[in-house]
Amino acid sequence: MDEPESDKQPDAPNAFEVTRRTVIETGAAALLLTTLPRAALATGAADYSEPPAHLEKVELQINDQPHSLMLDPRTTLLDALREHLALTGSKKGCDHGQCGACTVLIDGRRINSCLTLAVMHDGQSITTIEGLAAGDELHPLQAAFVEHDGFQCGYCTSGQICSAVGMLAESRQGMPSYVTEDLTQPAAELTDTEIRERMSGNICRCAAYPNIVAAIKQAEGMAT
């Protein structure tokens, strides 16, 4: 299956044809330069130059709606959402599990949708940013992000919010974190330090971190 033209990256972008996507990728590249191998930076969208070995039928329950797809097994869950189902709320930042912009919830648990294949999730329930609001009523975390200005450019925001939904559920289940003082205690109090550690898989290029922490703290006490 061919990748849509819009996602094909030129090897050397023309300096006069800087697109919004190029700007975003350049920003992400600068951010990740210290940790990403050079080859990763040179890679754009998935290379599908080789035809698929076969197609697989994949049934996904996404935001309470059933979807049936025939997919090249190479299709990541993120590409299935964005390119096959037009659910573009989940973002492709680094495409290597380092930035968190693609975070979605599978059976309530947060994962990086760029680092998993859609076929591996046949029959499972997926919640994306598009599935959090109840009609016109924003999810408490969405409302808190708006209220606290938990973003600037907004590219990481859907990943931040989905991650925060998963993080609050983990915290309520008593899951510890690296900064939890006493691992033998059933649950840690969600201090700023705890929130920052638990959200470290979501990078914000605009550094809206103080406001993101404030938004999460506000939503913590509410039903999410």
Binding site: R109, M175, E197
Partner: protein, 325 residues
């Protein structure tokens, strides 16, 4: 990403039997898919084992735990028995990756993850691990994250896992099944290999052999600590890490177990260093003797020379913390 066939395994025997040349087993996939996107890994077929019943943590008759190969890193770190009895393992798991990755990554996959050497990841550069015989670009390259112990002229990569370092200090055993259905138990000390002149062979797993579980013996006496030193406070690989279990009373060490991450192609343990800490006063002089023993034969390659004093200081700090009364 290169094209591959995809198959879902319905039993361990089926998975092991389906493995042929060019096949990779996929569980969490967080490292494998990363490498496949860069064409560092180019399997012709994938066998998905995620639906196999290997996701339980059970008590063993000898007071230990048996951890299924598909137990997710986050579930293992959060298990009350692990938190109570194997704090070093819980802390090491929580020090690794991000919450999203830990929700996906598995116990077996974590042991099998590949090095994060920049040159291994860059398919335009020579790498004996990726392309045997092509040379090692790290030796004279940017080698800040590279190994100082157990290296060879062919490879100076490190093993990236935190979990495996804690399992090494706990003397874990790795249970496997091969394509004939035969089971085997591999002590973790023998599981990961040093590079020698075959850096492409990283473990003692045979062809068609699948990890089914990791067993932990009953916890040894002592205070358990995992200390990780890295460039960022969170979500970064270890430059140096120390897993320690230290049994001491009133300023005297009875016994100590030490395992190190970030120093070698396998979680590093030094029997000599542990011998120097048997029945000695918990003093800076004792810690220094132990550090000398750990660092016997250590060699830097330029950018990673700092790891030698960093290992010494981290060990000092850990021993001081675990013997504080």
């Amino acid at each position: 990403m290169r094209a591959f066939t995809y198959q879902r395994a319905d039993s361990v025997a089926h998975a092991a039997a389906a493995i042929k040349s060019g096949t990779k087993v996929i569980a969490g996939g967080t490292n494998l898919l990363d490498l496949m996107k860069l064409q560092v890994e180019t399997p012709s077929s994938l066998i998905d084992i995620n639906r196999l019943p290997l996701d339980r943590i059970e008590e063993t008759p000898d007071g230990g735990l048996r951890i299924g190969a598909l137990v997710r890193n986050s579930d293992l770190a959060a298990d009350p028995r692990v938190r109570q009895r194997y704090g070093v393992l819980s802390r090491a798991l929580l020090a690794g990756a991000s919450a999203q990755l830990r929700n996906k990554a598995t116990t077996g996959g974590n042991l099998l993850q590949r090095t994060r050497c920049y040159y291994f990841y860059d398919i335009t550069k020579p790498c004996n691990k990726r392309n045997p015989g092509s040379g090692c670009a790290a030796l004279a390259g940017f080698n800040r994250i590279h190994a100082i112990l157990g290296t060879s002229d062919h490879c100076i990569a490190t093993h990236p896992s935190d979990m495996a370092v804690a399992m090494r200090v706990l003397d874990a055993n790795i249970e496997t099944v091969n394509h004939n259905g035969d089971g085997k138990v591999i002590p973790i000390a023998e599981f990961h290999r040093l590079p020698g002149n075959t850096p492409e062979i990283e473990t003692s797993l045979g062809p068609g052999e699948i990890i089914t579980a990791v067993t932990l013996p009953a916890p040894p006496p002592g205070v358990q600590v995992y200390r990780k030193v890295r460039d960022r406070a969170s979500y970064a690989f270890a430059l140096v890490s120390v897993a320690a279990i230290v049994d001491s009373t009133r300023g005297r060490i009875r016994s100590a177990r030490l395992a190190f991450g970030g120093l070698a192609q396998k979680p590093w343990r030094s029997a000599h260093a542990e011998e120097t800490l048997a029945d000695v006063p918990a003093t800076a002089a004792s810690f220094n003797t132990a550090a000398n023993a750990v660092l016997e034969g250590a060699r830097g390659f330029g950018s990673n020379d700092f790891k030698i004093p960093l290992t010494r200081r981290t060990l000092h700090s850990v021993l001081a913390e675990t013997t504080r009364t």
